[in-house]
C-alpha cells in the first residue's frame, strides 16, 4: 500500500513533558484517517510537527516514500499539506473570495486580479459540492459556511493532504452530516484526510482507519469497520468507559424552578430571541433543552440567570419571583450556572485556581473577615475541591487557570457550581470540547445532583447527551418550545425533526 505521508518514530519533548513519544502515523492515499486521543494526548503536537511548527527530537517524515524536511508552515504548504484549524483563520470583514486568495493573490502589473481566482473558486466549489457565495462577507455567513471557506482555501492552494482539527465541534448535527459528505467527496477525488477528533460516532461514520494516542504514546492503528466504539474508547482512555449514563428512574418532586411566558428581545432583529416560553423543573429531575445552536438557548439562559434582559414573563425559583433579581441575589437564593462559554463567562483566566473556585463565595464570612480575604481558608477549600473533583494541575491551588487544560478548566467550573449546593443547576453545554473521560465524569455529576434532590436544567446540542442524561426533553426552535418529550418515548430522528422545525406539537404546560 502506498503511503502519501508517513511520520515515523516521532519524539518531541518539552521541558518536563514528553508530548510525543515514538509515534508513528501513516496516511494512505485517498483515505480518511482519524487521529483519536484525549485532551493532552499529543494530537496537536504531532500535527504541529507535520505542519513545521515544531522540530521533533527524533523521527522522520516521508512524503510518498521520500524523506522530507518541514521547517515551517510554508514548507508544509509546498508539500501540499493544508489544515482547517478548530478556530477558523478568516478575516471577518473580507468576502469569501478575498479570504480564499489571501496570501496567494494573483496580480497583474501590481493590481489585484480577481476574475481568474473567481473562476477557479467557482470551479472548485462545483467539483466538490462546496456551495458558497464568493461575494458574501464572512461575518454574514454561518459557521458551517465559514468552514467550507477554509476547505476551499486548502483546495485553492492545491493541497493534497488535508488536516481537519476537530472540525465538528462548532457545527450543528445537520452541518456535521453535510461535512461528512464533503469529506467523503474529497477522498473520492484523490485527497487524503487526517481527521482529529475525540468523537467516536464521527469516526465510525466517516473514517477508514484510526490511530490512537494516549498520554503522548502511540497505542495503535486499527481499521474502523472492524473495531467497535467501546474498543476504541478503551484504547483512548486506557479503561472501560460507560457510554450509557447509569441512572435510576427519577423521583421528581415539587416544582423548584418555573418559567412563565418568557419573552426575550433579540439583539439582531425585531423577532424575539425567546418567544413565550413556559416550562418547569422539579426536584430530582434533569430537564434538557435540546435544539440547534442559535435558536435562542443563549438568550434564554442569560435571561434565567440574570445576565441578560427580559422583555416580559416571569421566572420563579423556590416559589419566589426572581425575574428582576440581580445575579448575586439569584445565586444566593440557590442558583448555579455552568456557562456556555467557559472562557468568556465562567473563569477569570488570569486568576489562580483557588481564586476562581471562590468566585461566587469570596464575600461570605467564611472566606473574608472585615473585607480581607482569608487566604488560608480559601486555599484549604481549594485543596478540598481539587481532591474531590480530581482537578489536575501543575501547581495545585496556585496554578493560573489559563495554563490548565480545557477539561480541567471545565472541572473547575463544575466543582465550583456543584459545591455551591444549589436548588437549581443550569448547565449549558457542559461537555463541549471535552474528551469521553471528562464527559463521563460530568454526566455522573449531573445525575448525582439530581439524585441528591436538586433540579437540573441542561442545555445541550449533543443529541447523545440529550437522550442519555435527561429525564424530560424540551425542544427549542426559533425561540419557542416545540416539543416536550420523554427520552424513552422518542428517537434521535424524531428529535431531529422537531429541532429543524419540520415537526411541532402544541406543548401544554
Amino acid at each position: 500500500m502506498e503511503y502519501v505521508i508517513e511520520m515515523l518514530n516521532i519524539t518531541k519533548a518539552f521541558p518536563g513533558i514528553i508530548a510525543n513519544d515514538d509515534i508513528t502515523l501513516q496516511l494512505r492515499k485517498g483515505e480518511i484517517h482519524a487521529l483519536l486521543g484525549e485532551n493532552g494526548a499529543g494530537k496537536s503536537t504531532l500535527m504541529s510537527v507535520l505542519f513545521g511548527l515544531y522540530k521533533p527530537e527524533k523521527g522522520i517524515i516521508k512524503k510518498e516514500g521520500n524523506v522530507v524536511k518541514i521547517n515551517n508552515p510554508n514548507d508544509a504548504n509546498d508539500l501540499g499539506i493544508g489544515m482547517v484549524h478548530q478556530h477558523f483563520k478568516l478575516v471577518h470583514n473580507f468576502t469569501v473570495l478575498q479570504n480564499i486568495i489571501l496570501g496567494v493573490e494573483t496580480t497583474k502589473g501590481g493590481f489585484l486580479e480577481m476574475e481568474e481566482p473567481r473562476k477557479k473558486v467557482l470551479a472548485l466549489s462545483e467539483q466538490y459540492g462546496l456551495k458558497v457565495d464568493p461575494d458574501a462577507l464572512i461575518e454574514d455567513i454561518t459557521v458551517g459556511m465559514q468552514q467550507r471557506v477554509e476547505i476551499l482555501k486548502m483546495l485553492y492552494r492545491d493541497n493534497e493532504i488535508l488536516i481537519f482539527d476537530e472540525p465538528t465541534a462548532v457545527l450543528t448535527p445537520q452541518e456535521i452530516e453535510e461535512l461528512m459528505k464533503i469529506m467523503r467527496g474529497l477522498t473520492e477525488e484523490g485527497k487524503s484526510i487526517l481527521f482529529i477528533t475525540h468523537k467516536l460516532n464521527e469516526i465510525k461514520a466517516v473514517a477508514d482507519r484510526v490511530t490512537v494516542l494516549r498520554k503522548g504514546k502511540y497505542v495503535g492503528t486499527v481499521e474502523v469497520c472492524t473495531t467497535s466504539k467501546e474498543e476504541m474508547s478503551e484504547m483512548m482512555v486506557g479503561r472501560k468507559v460507560h457510554f450509557a449514563v447509569e441512572k435510576k428512574a427519577s423521583s421528581s418532586g415539587v416544582v423548584t424552578f418555573e418559567v412563565k411566558n418568557l419573552v426575550v428581545p433579540s439583539k439582531r432583529s425585531s423577532k424575539k430571541a425567546v418567544n413565550n416560553v413556559s416550562f418547569d423543573v422539579r426536584k430530582g429531575e434533569i430537564v434538557c433543552i435540546a435544539g440547534i445552536d442559535g435558536n435562542g438557548q443563549s438568550e434564554l439562559v442569560y435571561a434565567l440567570t440574570g445576565l441578560g434582559p427580559v422583555e416580559s414573563g416571569h421566572i420563579f425559583l423556590k416559589g419566589k419571583e426572581i425575574t428582576k433579581m440581580s445575579v448575586r441575589d439569584r445565586n444566593v437564593l440557590s442558583m448555579s450556572h455552568i456557562p456556555e462559554d467557559r472562557h468568556k463567562d465562567g473563569l477569570v483566566l488570569d486568576y489562580t485556581l483557588s481564586e476562581n473556585l471562590i468566585l461566587k463565595k469570596y464575600y461570605t464570612p467564611q472566606y473574608q473577615h472585615n473585607g480581607f480575604i482569608r487566604f488560608n481558608e480559601v486555599d484549604a477549600y481549594a485543596e478540598r475541591l481539587i481532591k474531590e473533583f480530581d482537578i489536575r494541575t501543575g501547581e495545585g491551588a496556585k496554578t493560573i487557570v489559563r495554563s490548565m487544560s480545557g477539561g480541567n478548566q471545565q472541572k473547575t467550573i463544575v466543582a465550583r457550581e456543584v459545591d455551591y449546593d444549589p436548588e437549581i443547576l443550569i448547565a449549558v453545554q457542559p461537555t463541549r470540547g471535552l474528551d469521553v473521560g471528562a464527559i463521563e465524569y460530568i454526566h455522573k455529576q449531573l445525575v448525582e445532583q439530581r439524585d441528591a434532590g436538586k433540579a437540573v436544567l441542561l442545555i445541550s446540542l449533543e443529541l447523545d447527551e440529550v437522550m442519555n442524561v435527561s429525564d424530560r426533553i424540551l425542544v427549542i426552535f426559533e425561540g419557542e418550545i416545540v416539543a416536550d418529550l420523554k427520552p424513552e418515548e422518542t428517537t434521535i430522528q424524531e428529535l431531529g425533526l422537531y429541532m429543524s422545525g419540520s415537526k411541532r406539537k402544541e406543548v401544554a404546560i
Binding site: 445575579v327 441575589d329 477569570v348 486568576y351
Partner: protein, 372 residues
C-alpha cells in the same frame, strides 16, 4: 544549590531582575546619547547622572525624595488602574486639578488651624482628582467610551481650567506663579529636616522634602493591601481581567469600573497636593500650557514598577534620582535639550521592564533545560 536555583526562578526575583535589567539597558542607551552629543565629557557626564541626587549631598537626596513623592502617587494611579484593566492616561489632569485645589485651600482657607489646614487641603486635592476621573469612569462604564480618549480630553480641560482658576484666584503677578500657601498649610518636615540639609556656614541649606514622602509610602503600602488582600481588590481585579465573568459571579462590574477610575484619580490628585503644599522654597503652579509632567511620568513609573505598589515606590525614587542628576549635567557643556533627551531615553527603556519580565524566565529556563 537547589534553593539558589529556586530563588532565581522565583517570581519576585524575576520581577526585580526584569526592572533592574531594563534600567541598565536604559542607562547604556543614555550613555550612547551622551557620547554622540559630546564625546569628550561623556564619561564625566554619565558619572554625574549616576551620582544623581548625591551630587549635591544630603540636600540633593532630599530633593530626590521630594520629587519622587508625586511620582509615587501618579505611578500608583496608573498602576492601580492598570491592575483593574483600565488605562489611566488622565493622571496629568487629575494631578493638576488636585494641585490647584490644595494650593487654593492653602492660600485662602487661613481660618483653619495648622494641622487641620494641610490635612483638609490634601483630602480636597484627592477628592477633586477623583472627580476628574469620575467623568471618564462613568463614560466608560455606562456608555462604553474608551477611557484613553476621555482621560486625555480631561487632561486638557484640567490644565486650562487650572490655569484659569489660578489666575483669577491665587496668582502672584510679580513672580508669575501661584502664591505661597499659608504656613499652616505647608506640610510638616516630620524630622526630615534633621537629615536632608547641607551646612552653609552657620545656616542650614534645607531640602524641600517633607512628610509628603511618608504619606506617599504609606499610601503605597495601603494600596498593596487593598489590591492583594481584600475582597474589594479581588473584585476590582476580577473586573479588570474579565468583566463578563465578574458579572456572572454577581459583581457589579460597571460600578467597579467607576470606582477604579475614581480611586486612580484620587491618587493622582493627592500627588498634586503633596508636591505643591511645600512652602516658599517648594514648587508653585506655573501658568503655562503644558500638561503636568509628573502625571505622564506616572506611566513609566508604573511600568517600571510592574504595577506593584511596592515596586512603584522604588521606581519613582529611581526616576526622580536620574532626573535630579540630569539637571546637574548643566555644569558641563551639555545643551539642556540633550539632558532631557537622555533622561527620556532612560525612562523610556525602563518602561520595557514588562518585556524583560517575559523574556528573562524564558532565557533562564532554557539554560536550565540544557543543563539537565
Amino acid at each position: 544549590m537547589k534553593t539558589v536555583r529556586d530563588f532565581i526562578l522565583s517570581d519576585a526575583f524575576n520581577k526585580t531582575a526584569a526592572s533592574v535589567f531594563a534600567i541598565v539597558i536604559g542607562l547604556v542607551f543614555g550613555f550612547i546619547v551622551l557620547l554622540v552629543s559630546n564625546s569628550s565629557e561623556a564619561v564625566h557626564g554619565f558619572g554625574i547622572i549616576l551620582n544623581g541626587g548625591f551630587s549635591t549631598g544630603a540636600k540633593g537626596m532630599g530633593q530626590v525624595l521630594y520629587f519622587a513623592t508625586p511620582l509615587i502617587l501618579t505611578g500608583l494611579s496608573v498602576g492601580f488602574a492598570f491592575k483593574t484593566g483600565l488605562f489611566n492616561i488622565g493622571a496629568p489632569g487629575q494631578f493638576i486639578m488636585g494641585a490647584f485645589t490644595a494650593v487654593y485651600i492653602g492660600v485662602q482657607w487661613t481660618f483653619l488651624p495648622a494641622p487641620l489646614h494641610w490635612i483638609v487641603a490634601l483630602i480636597a486635592a484627592a477628592l477633586v482628582g477623583g472627580l476628574w476621573a469620575l467623568v471618564p469612569g462613568i463614560l466608560k462604564a455606562y456608555m462604553n467610551v474608551h477611557e484613553v480618549i476621555s482621560t486625555i480630553m480631561m487632561n486638557y480641560i484640567g490644565m486650562y481650567l487650572a490655569n484659569y482658576l489660578v489666575k483669577v484666584s491665587i496668582y502672584d503677578f510679580k513672580k508669575g506663579l501661584s502664591m505661597n500657601v499659608a504656613d499652616s498649610a505647608v506640610l510638616p518636615k516630620g524630622g526630615l529636616d534633621y537629615i536632608f540639609y547641607n551646612p552653609l556656614g552657620t545656616v542650614k541649606d534645607m531640602s524641600t522634602v517633607n512628610c509628603g514622602i511618608y504619606i506617599a509610602i504609606a499610601v503605597a503600602i495601603i494600596m498593596y493591601f487593598v489590591i492583594n488582600k481584600t475582597t474589594f481588590g479581588y473584585e476590582l481585579k476580577a473586573c479588570g481581567f474579565n468583566q463578563n465573568a465578574s458579572r456572572y459571579a454577581g459583581i457589579n462590574a460597571q460600578l467597579n469600573v467607576v470606582l477604579s477610575m475614581v480611586i486612580a484619580g484620587m491618587l493622582a490628585g493627592l500627588g498634586g497636593g503633596l508636591l505643591y503644599l511645600s512652602g516658599a522654597s517648594g514648587r508653585h503652579i506655573k501658568v503655562v500650557d503644558v500638561l503636568a509632567i509628573e502625571g505622564f511620568n506616572g506611566i513609566p513609573v508604573a511600568l517600571l514598577g510592574l504595577s506593584n505598589p511596592i515596586g512603584i515606590i522604588f521606581a519613582a525614587i529611581f526616576i526622580s534620582y536620574i532626573t535630579v542628576g540630569g539637571n546637574f549635567l548643566q555644569t558641563l557643556n551639555f545643551v539642556p535639550e540633550v539632558i532631557d533627551i537622555i533622561i527620556a531615553c532612560i525612562i523610556y527603556f525602563s518602561a520595557f521592564a514588562l518585556y524583560f519580565r517575559k523574556l528573562l524566565p524564558r532565557l533562564l529556563k532554557k539554560e536550565r533545560g540544557d543543563k539537565e
